[in-house]
């Protein structure tokens, strides 16, 4: 666990799932595998035949709009609710209280005894997880709560409560950290603080599973992502692949028919739609307009109009959801 893993650096692509420990070079192990999990609440299918694999060292994002089954999935893997069907394994073993002791998690609201101080609340957590109390100071410092360590939890602001939940999850350096909407309800400063913390933890080699409806958040901190909608997994993979920002260009030419034909051969071409005299072309990767022009000219197509059209991340996310609805 304490080996240095370059794959944990969210800045680097995580596709090379190899871990460089001081002594051996080994392939990363599966931390969590979910097989065909379904959960139904009355008429609502909260989770629908979900399959997921999370590898050691990944920062795995569960991305989906509200009600897409993210929290239900997390509740199932934490054994808070029993799945209707399907099963899951932690570290290749059936779930148990021993596996839960290796997991730190922040689910929905921070749950603590209001009349106890953060220190006493964390002592209870440490007792349950069979940890000593030595780590309490560190996690309180890390989350900026050390000064308030002896105030009652009840007197905390929402942001502080959320940070205490994160502190509790970090207690004893868990192998896995599960965060459900960790920045929900926080002010911009609080959001920035939590995100920095997540990146810092990821660098230490801790596997992180994070649920969010914010694409921006997933993109900033995750290496891998699964996109959920209505309890179904639409797709999963590396963030850079799944959430690739395909550029689009607006083009028109003297001969529109030839343009429509020739453009299909351009590397990275995805689709095109005709809008009046112009056509809108989508690409899977970033495109240099000069190259595009040169390519079409070589095909004998003379452009009369070329304009780049950037889309926002949210627009892109909505398109992903719509395309796969």
């Amino acid at each position: 666990m304490h080996s240095f893993c370059i794959c944990n650096n969210p800045v680097l692509p995580a596709s090379k799932i190899y871990c460089f420990s001081p002594f051996i070079l080994h392939k990363l192990e599966t931390v969590l595998s979910i097989r065909n999990i379904s959960k139904r609440y009355g008429k609502i299918q909260a989770v629908d035949d979900l399959n997921l694999e999370v590898m050691k060292g990944q920062v795995f994002g569960l991305l989906g709009p509200n009600g897409s089954g993210k929290t239900t999935t997390l509740s199932v893997i934490l054994e808070l609710i029993r799945p209707g069907s399907g099963d899951f394994q932690w570290f290749g073993q059936p779930p148990s209280k021993a596996s839960r002791k290796r997991i730190g998690s922040v689910i929905e609201s921070p749950n603590f005894f209001p009349y106890l101080s953060p220190v006493n609340n964390l002592k209870i957590v440490a007792d349950i997880k069979d940890l000593g109390y030595d780590d309490i100071g560190r996690v309180l410092n890390l989350t900026g709560l050390y000064e308030r360590r002896n105030s009652r939890f009840r007197t905390f602001s929402f942001g502080m409560k959320q940070r205490l939940a994160v502190a509790s999850a970090l207690l004893g350096n868990p192998d896995i950290l599960i965060l459900d909407e960790p920045t929900n309800g926080l002010d911009p400063q609080g959001i920035a603080h939590i995100r920095e913390l997540i990146l810092l933890i990821a660098q230490q080699g801790i596997t992180i599973i994070i649920a969010s409806h914010l694409l921006d958040e997933i993109q900033k901190v995750c290496t891998h992502v699964a996109v959920l909608s209505k309890g179904k997994k639409l797709f999963d993979g590396e963030v850079s692949e799944v959430l690739a920002i395909s550029d689009s260009y607006e083009l028109s030419a003297e001969n529109p028919a030839a343009l429509s034909e020739s453009i299909k051969a351009f590397p990275g071409y995805r689709s095109a739609t005709v809008a009046g005299e112009k056509i809108l072309v989508y690409f899977n990767s970033e495109v240099n307009p000069g190259e595009l022009n040169r390519f079409l000219f070589a095909q004998g197509v003379i452009l009369t109009h070329l304009a780049e059209r950037k889309r926002s991340l949210e627009q892109h996310f909505l398109e992903l959801l719509r395309d796969n609805a």
Partner: protein, 276 residues
């Protein structure tokens, strides 16, 4: 086990309501015990106004009868309700604070959670029994002349009866708390059951129309309270024709213990099958 008790102690150590309610229990108990003789003799005085033969005043604080009398007064519903409400609050708090969820997430099992609450009940019962035993001993010593060890020990089985009663009554409270999960609702329904519902059912089942001997004594609360049934006051025997309990028998303790096991088993099964 020790670990679970340590956790429970952390949860109650600075919880003011817990200490206030336990304190109230002692205040009520102490007041009740001090008033008991006075109240009984007041009753005797009232009866003597209408009775041609005067009844003598009673003394209830001497060995060996003091065990039976104090155990009886310490287990009337109005006094027992305090530790029961403490248990209800401590369990339903875990639901309203969602700390039961957090405990599970952190790696406690449902069995351990239930066990920790049962251990808490056990410890509270042991401590209360010890304190009551001590108080009874002191009261007995100061009211009895010519003490022998045999005299002291003669009726001491009633202190075991007190322990069984307070233990099983709290288990009944635990059952209500785990089933209903809401503090206000649990306290309301528990109080309603103990003071109104069961006495009504008791009365109805006792009626000779339904069953000659009646199954009333075997209702949950009644089987618990029956362990220490009447105070050893001769006047009760003479006026009401009651047969006084000689000692706390094994068979009379069996019913509340069977109920306790049934309640615990039900709670465990429900905990296992219910989502948190």
């Amino acid at each position: 086990m020790i670990k679970l008790l340590k956790i429970e102690f952390k949860k109650i150590r600075t919880y003011r309501i817990f200490w206030i309610l336990i304190g109230l229990y002692f205040v009520f108990l102490a007041a009740g015990l001090m008033m008991a003789e006075f109240m009984v003799n007041n009753m005797v005085d009232n009866m003597n106004k209408h009775s041609p033969i005067p009844f003598p005043h009673v003394a209830i604080y001497f060995f060996p009868w003091v065990w039976q009398n104090i155990s009886f007064f310490a287990t009337i519903r109005y006094v027992l309700i305090f530790p029961a409400i403490v248990i209800i609050i401590l369990i339903t708090n875990e639901y309203s604070f969602k700390t039961i969820r957090q405990n599970m997430i952190n790696g406690m099992s449902k069995a351990e959670f239930l066990l920790s609450k049962l251990l808490l009940i056990l410890v509270i019962s042991v401590i209360l029994t010890f304190l009551l035993g001590l108080v009874t001993f002191i009261i007995g010593i100061s009211h009895t002349s010519g003490i022998t060890l045999q005299l002291i020990l003669q009726k001491s089985s009633f202190i075991v009866g007190f322990f069984i009663t307070i233990l099983c009554f709290q288990v009944l409270a635990l059952f209500f708390a785990f089933m209903l999960r809401n503090t206000g609702l649990s306290i309301a329904l528990f109080t309603l059951y103990v003071f109104i519902v069961e006495p009504i059912v008791f009365y109805f089942l006792k009626s000779p129309i339904v069953h000659k001997n009646g199954i009333s004594p075997y209702l949950p609360v009644n089987s618990i309270l029956r362990v220490t049934e009447y105070p050893a006051i001769p006047v009760l025997k003479q006026v009401m024709g009651l047969t006084l309990q000689d000692s706390v028998s094994m068979s009379i303790c069996l019913y509340p213990l069977i109920y306790a096991i049934l309640f615990i088993a039900t709670v465990y099964i429900v905990l296992l099958t219910r989502d948190l």
